[in-house]
Subunit: 136 residues, 2 copies
Amino acid sequence: MRIGDLAATAGMTTKAIRYYESIGVLDEPARTEAGYRSYGPASVERLEFVKQAQASGLTLAEITSILEIKDRGGNSCEHTRGLLKGHLDDLDRKIVDLQRARRELSKMYEGAALLDPAACTDPNRCQVITQSGDGL
Amino acid sequence: MRIGDLAATAGMTTKAIRYYESIGVLDEPARTEAGYRSYGPASVERLEFVKQAQASGLTLAEITSILEIKDRGGNSCEHTRGLLKGHLDDLDRKIVDLQRARRELSKMYEGAALLDPAACTDPNRCQVITQSGDGL
DNA sequence: CCCAAGCTTCCACCCAGCTGGAAGCTTGGG
DNA sequence: CCCAAGCTTCCAGCTGGGTGGAAGCTTGGG
């Protein structure tokens, strides 16, 4: 199959596929006499794998390193587990940070509800921001 | 104070400060006769606010929009509240997304612990990814 | 045979949030 | 008076994951 068929089957663009090849996620495929890229069904599976791994939050570099190990016939379970663990930890940190930001923002928002709009007159001092903004 | 002093006080680089100015996070400051940027103590406070808001996960664009309201005097409490509400909703969506990603990743990670490493041989079918990744 | 669609390569650009460096002016201590 | 450090502007590039477009070749149906 040619690159357009592969792209349609795997649900991505030909641009993305060439990009993946350029950064080493995909090997260089066989070519037709005219120089067109020629793919087999294994390429569809590989792209599905890439998509799933990507949806799980792995970067293309990490996906590439998993695929490289497996291409050499090696066992990549431990490697993969390590990568996943790292991502899990990243995610946990991000979630904690966002929840903290949410608390601060929420404090500002609730504070705004309690203010008397009539008191909002000094153009140099918005109470909503300055009151709760200190903690942000 | 000049930009170097401000940078040292606020704990960032002069490059970052000029960058913030260029994208509108900071207003253009007064200049000395020689053209040097000249800052007052309020700039330190403003940069502290930026740093803290950034540490909480807000983007510079979001921080800028909050600061813009502050600059306009914030004399429209309702407008300010609306903006904060928007940020709050954004944050909630981000948190939900991350939590969903975390659940999926965790499922993959736990699944990986149960697999027999010897079974991990097919380069296109890593069980760690494909077993739990189906739901993605 | 013709023409559009699809393929090739290459170069550029997008987002965010900066950083680095070049070329040239100003400031301050010895 | 001199020189280094600090300031100015502008231009470039970095990461990640691609997209857009130009110029030119190939393929396939009418």
